[in-house]
Subunit: 168 residues, 2 copies
């Protein structure tokens, strides 16, 4: 590379603080969900994803394409959650090539049980630490970065209107 | 939980955008480093950490305590990087209990070789996507969250003055 655009001190400090905040927050979410619901955050995200689509089912290939997990991690997660009865894999009615992953009633209940503790953890460790103005700033920054990187719209569903599983 | 403080729509959208940005950015950094340097981002972070401490060496326990990786992942990473000759494990001169992990000259060279492409990726996908004002906002937000969660100062080194390995 002819001329590297090194980070200046402000950018370097921002980058390191971002890495630290990110790592600490994700570890904290994982610990809470593991402790209270027995699953890592990545599993929870898969369950939530399924809960928000029509019929609560997606072809494995579509789930993989739009998942926050890698394909191998997704397969492992789905296999484990099938054992616990939270998801079910079945053949696709309209396409013999693809298996469909479906959220079961028990899986939906698992999200509803886990959601309050998870949301409280997100609130305590992120939203309680920043001002309402900073919430807007974080959203604008995150949307800029996500839209730039998500050229194929893989995670577009995360940037459109939210749906939230609530138990109350 | 008696009364869950659910996220409002603004917070929910912010949270999802943050998750998406975060995931896409980390995947992108991983891909670039894997492609150009043959290592995941977590390995790069370990090498950088070692490059910035006196003697370029840390006890494994200290490296684990202040690492962005889990202990098992760190052990695996160090074992692999020992095979490539980028780090070396040796007994601690002052403490027989702990092995020391040392960055080798080849490891330092590996960072210097990887750094320009890595920094360019961070710049292109984060800093080029936000304004200088947003850099300050992201830093303030990240520092608030990190300091709240890092009660034991595990990642404090990421929040203090930056050091950067440069090849120019």
């Amino acid at each position: 590379m002819a001329h590297t655009r090194w980070l200046n001190d402000d950018e370097q400090r921002t980058w390191r603080a971002f890495l630290a905040a990110n790592k600490l927050l994700m570890d904290c979410l994982d610990r809470q969900l593991q402790h209270e619901a027995g699953i890592p955050h990545t599993y929870y995200e898969i369950l939530v994803r399924l809960s928000e689509v029509p019929g609560r089912a997606l072809r494995m290939s579509d789930l993989a394409a739009t998942s926050m997990s890698s394909r191998s991690r997704l397969s492992h997660a789905v296999a484990r959650m099938e054992e616990t009865g939270w998801v079910r894999r079945r053949e696709c009615a309209t396409d013999r090539r693809g298996a469909v992953c479906e959220l079961t009633d028990a899986g939906l209940q698992a999200i509803k049980t886990a959601a309050p503790g998870h949301v409280e953890t997100v609130r305590t460790n992120l939203f309680d630490q920043i001002t309402p103005e900073q919430v807007g700033q974080l959203r604008a920054i995150s949307e800029s970065v996500a839209r730039h990187l998500d050229a194929d719209g893989r995670l577009e569903y995360l940037l459109t209107e939210p749906v939230q599983a609530r138990s109350d």
